[in-house]
Amino acid sequence: MVKYCQSCQTGRAFMIRPKTGNLICQPCFFQAFEEEIHYTIVSCNMFKRGEKVAIAASGGKDSTVLAHIMTYLNHKYDYGLKLYLLSIDEGIQGYRDDSLETVKQNQETYQLELKILSYKELFNWSMDEIVKQIGLNNNCTYCGVFRRQALDRGAQLLNVDKIVTGHNADDMAETFLMNILRGDVFRLPKSTQIITGDEDNEILTIPRSKPFKYTYEKEIVMYAHYKKLIYFSTECTYSPNAYRGHVRELIKNLESIRPSAIIDIIHSAEQLALPNNVKLPQKQLCTKCNFISSNKICKACTLLESLNQGRAKLQLEYQ
């Protein structure tokens, strides 16, 4: 039995949109998907004409669709942006080395300048080496902290004005729930902001934004599938031990019962406000590496110090 699109009434419906519960046909879906992201970008003044923007690209589904959409909208609506691809190689054998091939393909397809930075060249530690040293607990913490700094450094080298990442609605809802579960009050207000790092303070950081903040992961995958976009899809070798996995499972189960739950969580998160008397950590520059930090020594340097001490200890033992 053929069901018809609730938007145009004529097209054959191929999907139910999780956000709205509406039946939709392919052309209407592509249009809705693209227009909603355009609206998200424009309504929060995400970019200014002439800006250089680095697209954080991993070769995965979100960043591939992000590269596609940014190129498409930049052209269609004449945003006037110069786009770049910025990729970070954490040094995970069998995972990152394969996905970087996909990024190179993206570079060809969208004709964008590509910069690849590796943890090894920046910090002298690859993720595989880090896991060998510290084991399978907490590796995501190291990776996340290093990646943030690596992206900042890459963006500085490219001399761009903004960074965009492919974080989608599911990711945002997961992050928010994770912060609630861990009682991380300081991270709560920022965890669902669409643009971060553009506060008016003396310490300049390159702002990051998330055009997919309100875009469902399911729709990103459907869009990529039907538009035949090529992306790399393997779980990170170390991800089965990640804390986020528990929250992701909860979100997926919630979604199957009530698909609007994901966007509802984000809307609730946006309403959350901290009382006035809560003192948030002040941003300063790390005394070691001069990058933005909440403390005298930034988290990356702190982690690096403990890694290097461990390595030095091992070297002494071998002597």
Partner: protein, 94 residues
């Protein structure tokens, strides 16, 4: 009857690297029967990527003849000969 299976989003690791193959299943089988059948031929080490108990893992999209199974009766949908069923996992890095 013959069912054509497509795997996306990295699910081929559950089936020895095969991204597409055909299976034979009895007439009148429903999607839930198909999932159970696939569970039996899935690599035992990777089974939790595909099913949770006897249900498809949440986060795996299902298309029947290129249409989202939510438009049909999902697990209750009765398969026909030569139906193309695609399983696309969304559970990986972006």
């Amino acid at each position: 009857m013959k069912i054509i299976i497509d795997l996306g989003g990295g699910l081929d690791v559950c089936f020895n690297g095969q991204k597409g193959f055909n299976i034979e299943i009895n007439e009148g089988a429903r999607m839930s029967d198909l999932v159970l059948h696939l569970k039996t031929i899935c690599n035992p080490k990777k089974i939790e990527f595909f099913v949770q108990q006897d249900q498809l893992r949440p986060g795996i999209l299902v298309l029947i003849n290129d249409v989202d199974w939510e438009l049909e009766e999902k697990e209750q949908y009765q398969l026909s000969n030569n139906d193309r069923v695609s399983f696309i996992s969304t559970l990986h890095g972006g």
